[in-house]
Amino acid sequence: MKLHQIINDLLNFFEGFGQGFRSRSVEFIRIEERELENVFSLLLFGSYIGIPAPPAFLSLELLPHVAKELYVLGITAERAEDPLGQIAEFFEI
């Protein structure tokens, strides 16, 4: 194995290591972001499940721009029955 390949592998290892740390460091903010996006979607499209909703034109005109928020809403709804699973996932148990 050549020296520069070893150096490359080491650099990649540290890079991955750094990425892992960076990713872990924002995990709490990510959860907050998802929660807020979920609330945002619930407020916009709450009329589907009986929650008071804004005037219909607001929901309709924002619909083309909230694909990510709807995706989060779907995932949150899917996992709603498994709160322990979510905690376990967060703590990597």
Binding site: R22, I29, R30, E33, F40, A56, F57, L60, E61, L62
Partner: protein, 309 residues
């Protein structure tokens, strides 16, 4: 624009006749537009001319039109659903055409379409704009929509700012720019000026503020009523509903007045009232409307006093 007048009241009390007469009077003073926003138009019948969705000059300084509210709703939905189709084209299962058909009957859509029509009208360059509105229930919903919408818009903008703040924090550490949903890359905006949701909310906020300013500063709401209990009760309810949003009915027209009685006294105790007597026959055409327009002239004079005062 110098002044706007919005005519409200129960169906059949004479809103169109009164508003058409006032328009005739105001045209003596400046360029005037009268527009009927009532889905069941009869402004053209009152003037004795054929009207359409475009302003038509019917005498010097007087333009009239009948806004096609169904067409407004259709165009609005086509425009909005076009954007939805572009964004959610991967959802093959969703039949968007059928979705549009059902949206037509969704609560609030008709009101917003009429409000969009109103926004277009008040942005035009006339000295006076007179709006002949649909019967009370729909009108109250249209006139209060900007106020309720602004409450929601402010809340949603606050929440959106919080979301963008979290995104900026994540972006600055991990450099995340987009995520993949159903095999499609979706970009994640982090700044307010690049976020389409924020832009859309800001645009709606400006539109709603424009209508709110028009309603509260540049316009008089005129209630037309008849000397009979049902239109009195509906008028009282309308005044109450509008008052909740800070909107005052500045004038009352007591149309088809015959003689003073308990109901007329009750109506006149509600605010400044102009009596228009019951005429032998329904006025039609510019000449016949002249007579009523002279009675309504008082309203213009009082408005002038308010402006100069």
């Amino acid at each position: 624009m110098r002044k706007g007048f919005i005519f409200i009241g129960k169906g059949g009390v004479g809103k169109t006749t009164c508003s058409a007469s006032l328009a005739l009077k105001l045209a003596d003073e400046g360029k005037t537009l009268i527009a009927s926003l009532d889905p069941a138009h009869n402004l053209g019948d009152v003037y004795g001319v054929e009207l359409s969705g475009k302003p038509k000059l019917i005498r010097e300084n007087l333009y009239a039109m009948e806004v096609d509210t169904d067409l407004l709703t259709k165009k609005y939905l086509e425009r909005t659903v076009g954007k939805i189709k572009d964004m959610y084209s991967y959802l093959k299962v969703l039949n968007l055409d059928r979705y549009v058909d059902s949206l037509k009957y969704s609560p609030g859509i008709e009101e917003y379409s009429i409000l969009e029509g109103l926004i277009e009208l008040i942005s035009q360059e006339y000295d006076y704009i007179i709006l002949d509105m649909p019967p009370t229930g729909l009108t109250v919903k249209v006139l209060t929509l900007p106020y309720t919408a602004l409450i929601w818009i402010d809340k949603l903008m606050g929440l959106r700012k919080d979301i963008l703040g979290r995104r900026r924090a994540i972006d600055s550490i991990t450099g995340r720019k987009c995520i993949v949903i159903e095999g499609r890359e979706v970009s994640i905006p982090v700044e307010e000026d690049e976020d389409p949701v924020m832009k859309e909310l800001q645009d709606k906020k400006e539109k709603m503020e424009l209508v709110r300013d028009f309603l509260s500063r540049k316009c008089s709401i005129v209630l037309v009523t008849n000397p009979e209990p049902l239109s009195l009760f509906e008028g009282q309810r309308a005044i109450e509903a509008l008052k909740n949003f800070g909107l005052d009915v500045s004038k009352i027209i007591l149309n088809k007045f015959v003689e003073e009685n308990e109901v007329t006294r009750e109506i006149e105790s509600m605010g400044r009232t102009i009596r228009i007597p019951l005429l032998k026959e329904l006025p039609r055409g510019l000449e016949q409307l002249r007579e009523i327009s002279e009675m309504i002239a008082e309203m213009v004079d009082r408005t002038a006093e308010v402006r100069s005062g």
